[in-house]
Structure formats: structure tokens, C-alpha cells
């Protein structure tokens, strides 16, 4: 198992290196650099002056050399300076990530139990009325992207009923400001996870050992809770972990929609304002989150499922 984890970590580091280089190259494209020079000085600067400024500030060094310098900085904790917020990247990024962690925490706390409950209820009696109506619910929610459901919920709960607020404030979470963003994200993810749980549960319920348990005379409740559930929850675990890239995209959409100034909002600000260092740092964080959750999903799957042998 240890060797497996080490190998996964190695592959992850390699992926991270490749991805950060791709991002670095894309963010440092020639037009972006010229735009940066114009923004940092004055917009009517001549081409020769732009060239001089870029050379003086080290933007004309070979890409690999600059990438090496940037990577060295990141490893030692220096991620450069944000031009949009006029502060070191670390000072901008970490508090914003904290706000998003609060949002993500509430999303996960509501989404996972809800999705598992729906999936198990639907899957334990395949084809029943409960199953069919829950399946329709799952299809409808997973077909409605956050920027659609968020707007519909705002129309209903904020403009219509006036219960909740359509604008969220990062840093000071209250129920009426946080409820809409959390609801929007949780319901979108719920559809997919509950469909996967349902499929896993339905498959387990047709297994031989469930029939044996039934023939032994166990109650339906005991069969579901003690025999089926444990095996049915392995697949959703992987699915939930692999949901994180979607969750990150969802965070960006929802934070923009509700003006919640967390990580996603920062990413959008950095990209829209040609803030090279901040965008690089944001990309690094999102890619790291995705890769870590993928690795946890693989390792957890192997650990949870004794039938998987890692070699």
C-alpha cells in the first residue's frame, strides 16, 4: 500500500509540474505581457518603451529560466505580487481561500448526506414510485447548471418570497446570505452523486448475498442497513472525490453570481485584469485541489474495497 501511495504521489508531482508549466506559458503569452506593460506604465507607451520595460523587469528572459525562478519562489512561499489588489499574492489568496472553504464546507455538509439518502432510497427498491420520482429529480437538477438554478432560486426566494438575500458576503456568513449559494451548488451536485449511489445500490440489491440474507429471514431494514449499504457506498465515495473539479467550477460560477468574494471571485478578477502572478497562483491551487482529490479517491477506493489489490 505504501509503495502504491508513493507512486501516486510521484505521478501527481509530475502532473503538477507539467500543468504548472503549461499554465505559466499560457499566462505569459506575448499579448498579455504587452498589455501588462501598458497597464503598469501608461497606455500610450510606444512599442520601444514597452520592449525596454519588459527587458528591465526580466520578462524577456527565456521562458524556462523564468519558470524556474517562479517555481523557486513558489516553493519558498513567495508567489509574487498581485497587480489588481496591489499586495503580495499570498496576502490576497489565503484569506479568500478561507472564505471559499466556509462555502465549500456547507455545500459538502448538505450535499453528501442528501445525495446518499436520495440514492439509497431510490436504489433499494428499483422501479418503485419513490425510485422513479427521485430519478426524475436527479435528472432535472443535474441538467440545470448553477448559473440557471442560482437565478431561478434568487427569483423565487429573494425577489419573490423575500426570505433570503441574493447577494452573499464573504467573511461574515449568515444564514440568509449563505443559503442561496450553498443551495445552488449542493442541488447541482446532488443530482449526479445520487444517480451514482442509486446505480450502486440497485446493483448491490441484486447480489447473491442479499438474497441469502433475505432467505435467512432478516428484515428489509437490517438487509439495507447492515448488508447493502456498506458495499453500495464505495462507488459514491469515488464519485464524490471526482466531483471536486466540478465543485471548483461551481464555486467560480456561484461566487460570481452572488458576489461572494472568495477564491472563485479572485480567479475571475485576476483573469479579467491580466493579473499574471495571482492567476498563476489561483491555477496552481485549483490544479492541486483536483489532483489531491483524485489521489485520495484512488487510494481510498483501494483501502475501502478489499477486492482491489494494489500491486
Amino acid at each position: 500500500m505504501l509503495a502504491f501511495i508513493l507512486r501516486r504521489a510521484g505521478a501527481m508531482a509530475l502532473t503538477m509540474l507539467a500543468l504548472s508549466f503549461i499554465v505559466f506559458a499560457l499566462v505569459n503569452l506575448e499579448p498579455n505581457l504587452r498589455k501588462l506593460a501598458l497597464e503598469q506604465n501608461n497606455t500610450r507607451m510606444e512599442a520601444a518603451a514597452v520592449e525596454r520595460w519588459l527587458t528591465e523587469n526580466g520578462y524577456r528572459a527565456p521562458l524556462l529560466e523564468r519558470y524556474g525562478a517562479w517555481l523557486g519562489g513558489v516553493v519558498t512561499g513567495d508567489m509574487g505580487r498581485s497587480t489588481r489588489f496591489r499586495a503580495p499574492v499570498a496576502e490576497v489568496l489565503w484569506p479568500r481561500l478561507g472564505y471559499t472553504a466556509v462555502l465549500a464546507f456547507w455545500v459538502l455538509v448538505t450535499m453528501i448526506p442528501g445525495a446518499l439518502l436520495i440514492g439509497v432510497l431510490a436504489g433499494m427498491r428499483e422501479g418503485s414510485a419513490t425510485d422513479r420520482s427521485l430519478s426524475v429529480f436527479a435528472i432535472v437538477t443535474s441538467a440545470t447548471p448553477e448559473y440557471v438554478s442560482g437565478i431561478i432560486f434568487t427569483v423565487i426566494f429573494a425577489s419573490g418570497l423575500g426570505w433570503l438575500k441574493g447577494v452573499a458576503r464573504a467573511g461574515a456568513p449568515t444564514f440568509d446570505t449563505l443559503a442561496l449559494p450553498v443551495m445552488t451548488m449542493a442541488i447541482y451536485g446532488m443530482g449526479y452523486i445520487s444517480r451514482m449511489t442509486r446505480a450502486a445500490m440497485a446493483e448491490v440489491m441484486t447480489a447473491q448475498y442479499i438474497r441469502t440474507a433475505r432467505l435467512k429471514g432478516l428484515s428489509f431494514r437490517a438487509i439495507v442497513l447492515r448488508h447493502a449499504l456498506r458495499n453500495a457506498l464505495i462507488a459514491p465515495f469515488t464519485v464524490i472525490m471526482l466531483q471536486f473539479p466540478w465543485l471548483l467550477t461551481g464555486v467560480v460560477i456561484v461566487e460570481t453570481l452572488f458576489n461572494y468574494k472568495g477564491f472563485g471571485w479572485t480567479l475571475v478578477e485576476a483573469a479579467n485584469n491580466n493579473d499574471i502572478d495571482l492567476l498563476l497562483a489561483c491555477s496552481l491551487v485549483s490544479v492541486a485541489v483536483v489532483l489531491t482529490t483524485q489521489a485520495i479517491s484512488d487510494i481510498g477506493y483501494a483501502a475501502l474495497n478489499p477486492r482491489i489489490r494494489v500491486s
Binding site: 503569452l29 443535474s142 441538467a143 447548471p145 448559473y147 473539479p245 480567479l267 492567476l279 483524485q294
Partner: protein
């Protein structure tokens, strides 16, 4: 300001869609009458879910085809007098009715929604098709040969999959990227795959039969080459071309969705290659690529069609996301995502201003998901 009554709005809106209803009735009539002879498509008419999905998808596809007839006004025309007015408002200057109201610039929401269907229903299926060609061309050998090829290709696919889509778009769909040759280079590589798959499949099967080979190859090279040159190089002349920003979006969407297709094709190939008919083909001495393209691929079509429907839906969501963030699309463009983005700031004035485009997008994606569900249900009956 004068308004139409609710009944008049509904009646007029339904009437505007007349060519759509007509074609829908014709397709469903024909489908129900001949469902026994239409294979998988015909069997859709046995499932309520499948029919509902098909209906929704066809509704929007036909709206896209007849957008000019369905729309009341020019989607870009601005009527200053009716800015942000609710559904059914009548323009005091021209006397024309705005069925779903007018947006923040006084443009007719009804007409914009109808025209918005065009953008989505051209780009989403086309991008999915190209992504499928790439996924098939790379997923088949990865699953069939395994080993190093598989390891290298899977590593590449995982690289792309590790990007949250939105980050990928913020890096790839920017004015800066459009100034470089990156979008054209990406398109140049991506559009080769459909040509290679189609050309290769024909060559492998008909190499010995000249009577079929020559016209089929000429058709693939002629039509495919003509499309390829037009789309990638955009030369002057009678070519199909895309605006630079649309090409940029197209390339980014294909890039984002092809690794997913690759994984599915790879998984299916690994499963199917252990079957007896594959062993039979190998024993006959068929070439590896013949086995992949003519034995494995046709037998993987069921799950691939279902996944294709879901993927078109997902691409629709992606295009909406691009519009929502104002990435790559012209601000006046009547696509649903951009419309949502521009009108959502006025939600306090009333929900009407943002609901038509949100419901349009949600209903199309829902239709595609229901269609996929119906197809899966029917395909499993084999």
C-alpha cells in the same frame, strides 16, 4: 405603455412557433407509424421519458432551423422606448408587441431566445462530434494495445482533466490567445482527426474494392478537405469559415471534452477486445486498426450514443458558462449564456427579464438528458 394580456401572449408565442409545431407533428407521426422499422430510434417511441426528451431536443433544433421565421424582430435591433419592459409590452413607436418583454437595451427577448438556439445547436453537436473523433482515434489504440501507448495517452488525458473547466477557459479563450496562432493550431490538429478516422475506416474496409473505395475516398477528402481548409485557415473564397472568437471557443470546448470521450472509448475497448468475435477477426488475420474501427467501434455504439447525448448537453452548459463569464463571445451576441449574463443584473426589476433564456437553456439540457436516459433504457433491452 400598453400590454397584451397573458392569454394573448401565450397564444401569439405559440403561433409564432408554427413551423416548429408542424415539423414536430410530422416527425412524431412518422416515428410512431414506422417505429417498428427504425431500430434504436424507433424504440424511443416506446418510452415516455425518451419521447419527452426527443420532443424537447427536436423543439429547439427546429427552432434553430426556423429562427428567422419564429423571431418577431431582429435579435440585435434596439427599441429605446420599451427598455426593461415586461412581457407583452407594445412599442408605442412601431406598434409591435414584445412577447417576452424587452431586455436592458430594448431588444426583443423572444427573438433573441429563438436565435440563441442557433448558436448552441450548431456549436455543441459539432464540437461533440470532433471530440468524439479525437476520443475514438486515441481511445481505441489505448484500450486495444494497452502498455506504453495507453500509459502515455492516459497521462495526457489526465493532464487536461486535472484542469477545472472554467480555468481552462480563462486561459484559452482570451483576446491574448486569439492574437497568437494557438486557436488555429489547435483547430488544425483537432479537425485532422475526423478526416483520419473517416478516411482510415474507408481505406481499411474497401482497399480491395476500387469501385467503392475511389468515390468514398474522394468524398471524404473533397468535402473534409474543403471544410478543413476553410475552418482552419479561413482563406478568402467559397469556404465555410468561423469568426476568430468562435473558432477559439470551438477549439477550447473540443479540448475540454475530448479526454472524457477518450476515457469512455478506452474503457469500452478494453471490455470488448476480450470477446470471441474479436479473437475471430484476429485469427482471420485482420489488421489491428481494422479490428478497432470495424469490429470494436460498431459494437460500442450503444453506450457511445448515450454518452454523446449527455455530452452535447454538457457542451451546451459549457457554452452557457462561456457566455455567463463573457468569454470569447461578442457582447451583443444572442446566445443564451451571454443573455443571462447581461440581464441578471436587472433581476430586481422583475424575473421576466432573465427567465426566458435560463429556461431555454435548462430545457434543452434536460431534453438531452432525458433522451440519453430513454436511449439507455431501450439499448439495454437488447
Amino acid at each position: 405603455m400598453q400590454f397584451l394580456s397573458a392569454g394573448q401572449i401565450v397564444a401569439q408565442a405559440l403561433a409564432q412557433f408554427w413551423p416548429v409545431w408542424l415539423c414536430l407533428a410530422a416527425i412524431f407521426g412518422a416515428g410512431l407509424a414506422f417505429r417498428g422499422r427504425l431500430g434504436l430510434f424507433g424504440r424511443l417511441f416506446h418510452s415516455g421519458v425518451g419521447m419527452a426528451g426527443l420532443g424537447l431536443v427536436l423543439f429547439w433544433a427546429l427552432t434553430a432551423v426556423f429562427a428567422d421565421v419564429v423571431a418577431v424582430h431582429d435579435p440585435l435591433a434596439q427599441f429605446g422606448a420599451v427598455k426593461r419592459q415586461g412581457p407583452g409590452v407594445i412599442d408605442p413607436v412601431s406598434g409591435a408587441a414584445f412577447l417576452f418583454g424587452a431586455d436592458n437595451l430594448g431588444r426583443d427577448l423572444f427573438s433573441r431566445v429563438a436565435h440563441g438556439a442557433q448558436f448552441v445547436l450548431i456549436i455543441a453537436p459539432a464540437a461533440t462530434l470532433v471530440a468524439y473523433a479525437i476520443g475514438v482515434a486515441l481511445g481505441l489504440p489505448a484500450g486495444y494495445f494497452g502498455g506504453r501507448i495507453d500509459a502515455a495517452l492516459s497521462f495526457l488525458a489526465n493532464l487536461v482533466l486535472a484542469f477545472p473547466v472554467i480555468l481552462l477557459f480563462y486561459l484559452l479563450v482570451t483576446p491574448g490567445v486569439r492574437e497568437t496562432a494557438i486557436p488555429n493550431a489547435m483547430a488544425g490538429v483537432f479537425f485532422l482527426f475526423p478526416l483520419l478516422v473517416a478516411g482510415g475506416a474507408i481505406w481499411l474496409r474497401y482497399a480491395g474494392r476500387r469501385a467503392v473505395l475511389i468515390p468514398a475516398m474522394a468524398a471524404v477528402i473533397g468535402v473534409g478537405g474543403w471544410l478543413y481548409v476553410g475552418l482552419v485557415f479561413a482563406p478568402p473564397g467559397p469556404f465555410v469559415t468561423l469568426a476568430p472568437n468562435v473558432l477559439n471557443i470551438f477549439a477550447a470546448v473540443v479540448f475540454a471534452s475530448s479526454p472524457g470521450v477518450f476515457r469512455i472509448v478506452r474503457g469500452l475497448t478494453m471490455d470488448i477486445r476480450t470477446r470471441d468475435y474479436i479473437a475471430a477477426a484476429q485469427t482471420r488475420g485482420e489488421r489491428a486498426w481494422y479490428v478497432m474501427l470495424w469490429e470494436i467501434l460498431p459494437n460500442a455504439r450503444g453506450p457511445l450514443i448515450v454518452d454523446g447525448c449527455l455530452r452535447i448537453g454538457y457542451t451546451t452548459i459549457l457554452l452557457g458558462t462561456l457566455g455567463f463569464f463573457g468569454l470569447g463571445l461578442a457582447p451583443e451576441s444572442p446566445d443564451w449564456g451571454s443573455m443571462i449574463n447581461q440581464t441578471r443584473g436587472f433581476i430586481r426589476l422583475g424575473a421576466f427579464i432573465v427567465l426566458p433564456q435560463t429556461l431555454a437553456l435548462a430545457s434543452l439540457v434536460l431534453g438531452l438528458n432525458l433522451l440519453a436516459d430513454g436511449l439507455r433504457e431501450q439499448a439495454l433491452r437488447d
